[in-house]
Amino acid sequence: MNHLWLTAWADIVESLRARWFVVYSAVFGGIVVLLFAFGLSESRVMGFTGLSRLLITYIELSMAILPIFVLITTVRSVAGDREAGVFEYMLSLPISLSAWYWGRMLGRFLVVFLPVFIAMLGALLWGMLKGGETPWALFFYYTALLLSLCWCFLGIGMLISTLARSSDIAQGAAFIVWLTLLLFLDLILLGVMIREGLSPDTAVAVALVNPLQVFRTATMMLFDPQLVLLGPTAYVILDHFGRAGYIAFAILYPILLGTLCALIGYQAFRRGDLP
């Protein structure tokens, strides 16, 4: 256990000094600053005002950019480290492969989750200072969703990094995975498929399997309780799960998917050549 935390801490320190982390933090911090600067906290859309409105916009933007950010930075740094000889040296030290792999994943999770969370927390605190009403329920719900999304795409990133033998291939694969999930969002390919006569069960299954769609549905659920904006699949899903059931699914499913991908990645890592 000690070695796991040592590795996690080493990965955190490595990441904090990396350029990608500066850009990553600046993007999410910048989004919050811009949302305030453009007066979003004073606007009203679909009944949401103040900080609630700001948080909803923030989470929508996060959904658009967080997955690709997490995927690309994970595969670049992990596969890049392997190419640069970091694995060769670090894995010549007497550390178990499980401590190394899961320690890196744990460290990386904290590094990708905390900037997004801190930016959201900062927005909340600033809003409180300004005397706005604090939407705690929304804050905790979105925190859980962000945590789930980060873990999910980190797991997918670790799997890709393990399977791809070079950082170029890993980056290409990460981009294709993200693009595929994007295409199967309700409003794009899934909509076309439904129009072309896809069976409702298949459409619903595709929407349930795609973590981006799950996250999107979950974020919109609060201000569009009937999910009218999302079209037929979301409606069917809501009918099956119910509101509370879907919220639980939206948080747990991406965590399970990320864990499953990371486990497959670990098995491949353990059985393959390390550097």
Binding site: A10, V13, E14, R17, G85, V86, S92, P94, I95, R271
Partner: protein
């Protein structure tokens, strides 16, 4: 201590190791030489359990892959290229010491002996150190623990003559208790360090020979070189070995050469043979007195 039994390593269709059989006993210092692509690095990675391979690799009867921690806790490894780690020097030392069950102070002490003040660079990212400083720190991590096997890929390549001398002395202290596997492209780089040479070519061992083991690893030669005329390139080459011109005779240069480095030094001098007017080399004892003329 180490046994490779018909080890084959393939990368897809490319067979990089073609049935390696090799045994290395404790106390043996083996030079693993060969050109690029000969299979040296792949063999070392199989030994460290980093690659899966056909055949058997055993260290004291243990499979390095199946018994990673037991096996690797006995191995000190110095890679040819330092990894681009961003973590600070202090953290790297703490990390390695904690994994190896060693004392960070011991690593810092060895680094100090090699001429690298690890305490002064405690907060400096490893990647920002110079090539020589990185090499010294990695050597200190490998030697600052109770390793029974030292695996080093061109360990002295980036070191100045003084640090090379200290490295040779440190290796001399370990030579009876540990086995050493020292990889290099060129035999003259490591010849005086070893008592056995294994040459690889195209994934096979093409030469496995014992060599005379008469050079004291900790010895040092006091040298005086006299030039026929002043020549900048020759002066720079001597300066790189830590030599300085005599005050009253700028054509005469004095300095020290680590005993095991004498072949390298003579190799350097041979490039300027036409400029050599005289050469004296005397082995020094530990207290600085000159012994027999060499």
């Amino acid at each position: 201590m180490i046994r490779f039994d018909h080890v084959i390593k393939r990368f897809r269709r490319n067979q990089v190791l073609k049935g390696i059989d090799l045994e290395i006993q404790r106390g043996q210092r083996v030079a693993l030489v060969g050109s690029n692509g000969a299979g040296k690095t792949t063999l070392i990675r199989c030994l460290l359990g980093e690659y899966h391979c056909e055949g058997e690799v055993r260290i004291d009867g243990l499979d390095p892959r199946a018994h990673r921690r037991e096996v690797l806790s006995r191995i000190g490894f110095v890679p040819q290229l330092p990894p681009p780690l961003r973590m600070p020097v202090g953290q790297l030392i703490g990390f390695a010491a904690s994994l190896c069950g060693s004392d960070p102070a011991r690593i810092i002490l060895v680094a100090g002996q090699l001429g690298f003040d690890a305490t002064g660079f405690h907060h400096q990212p490893f990647v920002k150190l110079s090539g020589g400083q990185k090499q010294k720190l990695l050597i200190a991590i490998a030697l600052g623990r109770d390793a029974e096997l030292l695996v080093m890929d061109e360990p002295a390549a980036n070191l100045d003559p003084e640090a090379r001398h200290i490295l040779f002395k440190l290796l001399a202290e370990k030579q009876d208790d540990a086995a050493m596997l020292i990889s290099s492209h060129r035999l003259d780089e490591v010849a005086a360090l070893v008592n056995r040479v294994v040459e690889m070519d195209q994934g096979r061992i093409v030469l496995d020979d014992e060599v005379a083991d008469t050079v004291d690893l900790s010895s040092r030669l006091a040298c005086r070189v006299r030039m026929t005329r002043a020549e900048d390139a020759f002066a720079r080459a001597l300066g790189a070995w830590g030599f300085a011109a005599e005050a009253d005779d700028p054509l005469s240069w004095r300095g020290h050469v680590p005993g095991p480095d004498r072949l390298r030094f003579l190799g350097m001098l041979s490039r300027y043979a036409a400029l050599l007017a005289g050469l004296e080399m005397r082995e020094e004892t530990d207290d600085g007195d000159n012994k027999d003329a060499a």
